[in-house]
Subunit: 339 residues, 2 copies
Amino acid sequence: MSNPVLVEVTRGDLVESRHRGALAILDADGASVVTLGDVARPVYPRSAVKALQALPLVESGAAEALDYAPAELALACSSHNGEPVHVNAARVMLMKAGLDEDALECGPQWPRLEADRRALHLAGEEPSPLHNNCSGKHAGFLGLARVMGAQTRGYVKADHPVQQEIRAVLEAMTGAAHGQDVCGIDGCSIPTFAVPLTGLARAFAVFATGEGLEAGRAGACQTLYEACTANPHMVAGTGRFCTDVMTAFGDRVFVKTGAEGVFCGAIPELGLGIALKCDDGGTRAAEAMMAGVISALLEADEDQAAVLKGFNGAPVATRLGVVAGHVRTVDGFAQMVRT
Amino acid sequence: MSNPVLVEVTRGDLVESRHRGALAILDADGASVVTLGDVARPVYPRSAVKALQALPLVESGAAEALDYAPAELALACSSHNGEPVHVNAARVMLMKAGLDEDALECGPQWPRLEADRRALHLAGEEPSPLHNNCSGKHAGFLGLARVMGAQTRGYVKADHPVQQEIRAVLEAMTGAAHGQDVCGIDGCSIPTFAVPLTGLARAFAVFATGEGLEAGRAGACQTLYEACTANPHMVAGTGRFCTDVMTAFGDRVFVKTGAEGVFCGAIPELGLGIALKCDDGGTRAAEAMMAGVISALLEADEDQAAVLKGFNGAPVATRLGVVAGHVRTVDGFAQMVRT
């Protein structure tokens, strides 16, 4: 079965490249509102479920015990640029748990922005695990391990109590079994479990509305939802989709990207969760799709529309800035999403 | 019509992402040896035809008049990393034509390797057009303009004599009309004309064998073929597919990548030209496909096989270097190519 072409990249009068994908929009009861393509095939959500992976940290009371601020909780849900504000917040989260960067098991990563790379070069430094886009998530894992009284070393392993807690929450939220047969290793060394897009979409509808959850988990969802939408710069950073869209829409929209073309999101006023994957793993296409979904489902003011157009209708430019083409969803995409 | 999945990216036991594409292998008479997918659809070849775009420079005698060395001719066919050796060679090419980097109209680009970025940062410098991966090609265009007695300014425009010469050669070599209807602007500001993969494959079979060409053009093809295969580091650089494969195979294989998942190549001992495009523009998939084609068509020794395996079977690793999956052509790909 072949998923539909959902995004085209144009150059001149021609379509230069095509991205296929699948999309699921569900409510918290698990009712499908829209599905495009094969939404039953298990998909590794990668970083798109970081907010769900942070639930045990909040629900257990560990975040409160460690006095994590909302901006720090947003960082726990982030794939950040490794800007100084992100690095510093991750360091503070570790300090609050009595730890430092040596406890991180995510590996080092160069910061995303050239200015931050320059700063490292001028200081004669290499990137540290604090610069890893997942350092906030890992700091949260370590905080949880400390409050649980678990060993911190090996917190990335599937059989560690922290990962077991996370797995249980992910299974409950997505309704999908998280077995060894659908388990891969994520880029930051933790397990990632493949889940159908329908399960992911439902999970985010529940995350954003709290519907059907017992009070403790509903409160944790609300705390993380508010932390992310109130601190969008902490969720990604300068020039990034998640940051720009949540800055523009405030608490009306939650979005979170994952590697290999995955995107999850929620629009609580409509009671909807969204999950999509670009077949080929293309981030530009996943961003165009998610921007297309949001414009199809929500009235956007001029500024909000401009932000969405920057991703669905993004210019393909020459190195001198001349527009040579565009990245955009296919004709009729909005109608497909509104059906 | 839907092109076949040719490359899969695995993680754990699952396929995480899928790349579709089309592939044409032809001889110099234009006979199709293998076609997969829609090989009639026009495809912007982008940088994959740089060696053909350099033909007027050599055929006109301009390269000889300017005393361009083989390594400089290889740079004229390159998409380079912006390493010092590339930047210096581009500067020398311009000097030989009585010009400097101010004549370049390709725009600036950061070097690809972190070490070269570091050097710029430590020197307090920004990248220049010499660092642009196309600077060698542009230096060659400028050299040709000077020897032709044409104005150098505006040499990137479709109506400039240099671009007109290149268009005529591309039409002759590919057998495809290069009209306004298939013209886009490339990232370095020059025109790029969409051509069916069959036309591109035939062009490279002709390029590598000289079959059917009059002596002047055949000689220019041979000069450029030898320049590239004898100076593979100048065609791309450290860690790059084109450099590594041509280093391993010597003059038995010519390969050249283009943006948006295009690859062209030739195997003269088999009399074959190769052209492929990954539908979604993915470079990792185009590289896996081209490596898969070469392994299917040529006996490879252990070192050559290891180089190809680095691209077709490339590990997907965590930031700590643990192998989480692979990028590889689909089962049966070699059989499809050998048919």
